[in-house]
Amino acid sequence: MSASANDPFILLSKAPVPEPDEARIEANVRASRDAFVRNRQPAARMTTSPGWRSALRRRGFWRPAAAGLAAVAALAAIIVLPGRMQSPNIGPAPSEQVAQAPVLLTAPDADNKAPARMGARPAPRQSIEAIPSPSPRIDELTQTRLGALRLGYRFLGDIVELYRIDGEALLRMERRRLGPGGQLALLDAAVMDDGRTIAVRSRLNLPGGRKSETVWDVYVQDNGAYRFDQERTVMIEGARDAAEAMKRLADAAR
């Protein structure tokens, strides 16, 4: 009798682990290094601002500065919408669709598994796990706008990757497997006034006309990407619209 027959747990270490994708390793290491450098920069800037301090002391500085601040305040009043929402980006990018909700993201069906914008078509029998997914550039994504959010997405087979586009920054939100022909309907979205917390209401339309429940998901920006926030998602479960979702989140934050 083998050892594994006596203790099946011993088999656990025998299972092979696939190699991570090399392109993804490079992309992730580079992104991580960039984030590390960014995190270190504010402290450095704080210590090298004597010019500002001396400018602030000068009496004549304040007159044009006051006019500038007034202009910024007026602009902010336009940007910040009622219901504690804000729109961080003004004006669509050239390739952007200005969509009315819902935004429908439809996965290729079983007969057409080529990723919508990725160029290379996988071999017919290639499993979806083998499709490489290096971090994309903004221009490789289909761009759209939902409420206050500018979003980018791409398909890798029947997996959709969703990104928030904030200026030039590309912030990954999540990846969902829709199944061949499956559809993700993005219904509503809003950004908390901290700029880091976003809420998206969506519904998964499964192949064959089946629909899953409509849900709100909350994501929090964390080190160059968004992570799903379970606790706050529960707080806004069943919210009728973005305003109610934002109000609940704001109340909970007080």
């Binding site: 992104a31 590390f36 796990e129 969902r176 998964l204 799903f228």
Partner: protein, 209 residues
């Protein structure tokens, strides 16, 4: 003992944190904690903490496969493992400043990775994703000898379905070949608690395995 010998290449971790593909063996019962708390002496960790971007990149690169392997073993899906690895790499850029050297860097990294694994699992659970989906994908990639293949798949599927602490204890000790003392450091509990979780896991799976 340093946590990584060749910072530019493959993960080359301490012998007690095995690299992918390492020979399986019966987990050691004797704890080896002689170097616990010593890894802050690792020049790479110290340099990265001091703000050296090159050292930080080398540190991430050296541990990338460890993070990926842990994520894959816990989740069973290469895409999910990639997602968790990406999350952890980004998190390290900020969280490294908070690493205080009270545990080894690798132990701390296990904790960061397992937290990220749990975050992803919560996200999946909320969306009602079937647990078996991961097991199905894993099944395709298993290349163990035919005679063990079905049993390995069954064991993995069942262990992943255990309560969190039982699953963590079993996967750390048997999946990743840590000693129970090391697993206790990762899980932030006593060694005897790890034994207890493993005992309960066996009890829960008795009759199924």
């Amino acid at each position: 003992m340093p946590c990584c010998a060749d910072v530019g290449g493959e993960t080359d971790l301490r012998a007690d944190f095995r690299a992918p593909g390492a020979e399986a063996e019966v987990p050691r019962q004797q704890p080896d904690t002689s170097d616990a708390g010593q890894e802050t002496a690792d020049p790479l960790v110290a340099l990265a903490k001091a703000g050296d971007a090159n050292a930080f990149e080398a540190l991430v690169r050296a541990h990338y496969r460890l993070i990926y392997r842990v994520a894959y073993r816990w989740l069973g899906d290469p895409h999910d493992a990639e997602d968790v690895t990406q999350t952890v790499c980004m998190k390290l850029a900020q969280a490294l400043a908070g690493y205080d050297g009270r545990s080894t860097f690798t132990t701390w990294l296990y904790r960061v990775t397992l937290n990220a694994v749990r975050d992803l699992q919560r996200a999946h659970q909320r969306r009602g994703r079937q647990i078996d989906e991961a097991a199905m994908i894993f099944r395709e990639s298993v290349e163990a000898p035919q005679e063990d293949r079905l049993l390995i798949n069954d064991v993995w599927r069942m262990v992943r379905g255990l309560p969190d602490k039982q699953r963590d204890a079993v996967l750390l000790v048997y999946g990743d070949s840590l000693s129970q003392a090391e697993a206790a450091l990762v899980m932030n509990c006593k060694e005897v608690t790890v034994s207890w979780h493993i005992h309960n896991a066996r009890k829960a799976l008795r009759g199924l395995l």
